[in-house]
Symmetry: C2
Amino acid sequence: MDLPSHRARLACRAGDAGQTAGIAPGFVQGNLAILPERDAAAFHRFCQLNPKPCPIIGISEVGDPRIPALGIDLDIRTDLPRYRVWRDGVPVAEPLDIMEHWRDDLVAFVIGCSFSFEEALIADDIPIRHIECGVRVPMYRTNIACSPAGPFAGPMVVSMRPLRPADAIRAVQITSRFPSVHGAPVHLGLPQSIGIRDIARPDYGDPVPIHDDEIPVFWACGVTPQAVIAAARVPFAITHAPGLMLVTDLRNKNLAVL
Amino acid sequence: MDLPSHRARLACRAGDAGQTAGIAPGFVQGNLAILPERDAAAFHRFCQLNPKPCPIIGISEVGDPRIPALGIDLDIRTDLPRYRVWRDGVPVAEPLDIMEHWRDDLVAFVIGCSFSFEEALIADDIPIRHIECGVRVPMYRTNIACSPAGPFAGPMVVSMRPLRPADAIRAVQITSRFPSVHGAPVHLGLPQSIGIRDIARPDYGDPVPIHDDEIPVFWACGVTPQAVIAAARVPFAITHAPGLMLVTDLRNKNLAVL
């Protein structure tokens, strides 16, 4: 086995990896959320109820750091470049691995990421502004309430890409084929309608210019689970560090439902 | 055979029919364009090159007034409520039938109509403003050039429906399934980008209100062929009269490609 995705994970294991955007093209990357069993069931229900921001593409057994469906030798404790450890809803550490934090009661959730659908958009010659600009995608808290489950509740976080209207229509068609990586946009054109007051000031990531012949198009974002983990102030959780995702052996093209 | 569509055509034949919107729900209605053989080939190429405004759903043999694929006993000379006869690009008559205008060299083209996709939108609980208001859909000439063929050329005409952004996204998904009745929108959100200066003054049909939480969504429109027939100043043509369409025995639901 010598997949680029496998090599990317081995680099993480060796402590020698950075931002994963552009790493192992064609392979699915994922957001990570790890919770103790006592909170994991409610978090799982939250994802089930909110599949657009939280599409689950992999889940571990309780206490088992492997997720064979995402990679034969994958070890969720070492195979991301960097992790974020949360206590009571506050990030307290960003270690390179979580060997010392792992426990027998932890459950790992891997959640689809927009990198997969961005690859499909680029393959269709639709330009992605934040990639062109070399910055992080702009993300915003909205007034769209997620469906709550147990302690997990809060607003949906969305990512934004400015597109010309004809490209926006094509982007709806393309991303509709990929429900497991956020699927179709949740909004377009009227940011104020979803509670975004200043499009130039994203809540996460970096601002990007919107040209006169473009409209902002918004997709549900995998930052949503981190936001609700923070808001729920759960005693203990681990996520990926921003932009430092899990690289899996799944192929983006295989996620297409049509 | 006692289909509602057949009864609708019999009423036309009896000279006893008006606007066809809402007639024979579930059945496909079509725009009509009839041209002499010498212009029909170029018109056919025009439709081939511009499938969004001019999706052909039926075509007759030269000089044959029947189109069995659209209705077993269909007679294109009598089965619409009213026709419009054109000479040198100018409408000169609006007869109830075209028996006296029929010639051995005429070819009839039936072109898909937005009624079919509106039915799918309404079935998905997406409200259609001009139907709620009881007026004709607003239509606009754009700066989107059709691909020319022979004498046929000109701008695409579009119809507009105001929708809330989430409904607009859903409408893209739904209408993408129906390429033979104009398919996905061609534009949304920025009317000035496609050369529409005043959204409150449509070039055809009636204006409708757009609410603050809505964006205008534009579909290619079956009025486009009439506009290019007028612009081409072809010596002779026959179309349907506005809003008075051919009711066929095809089912809207059978047009879905997915």
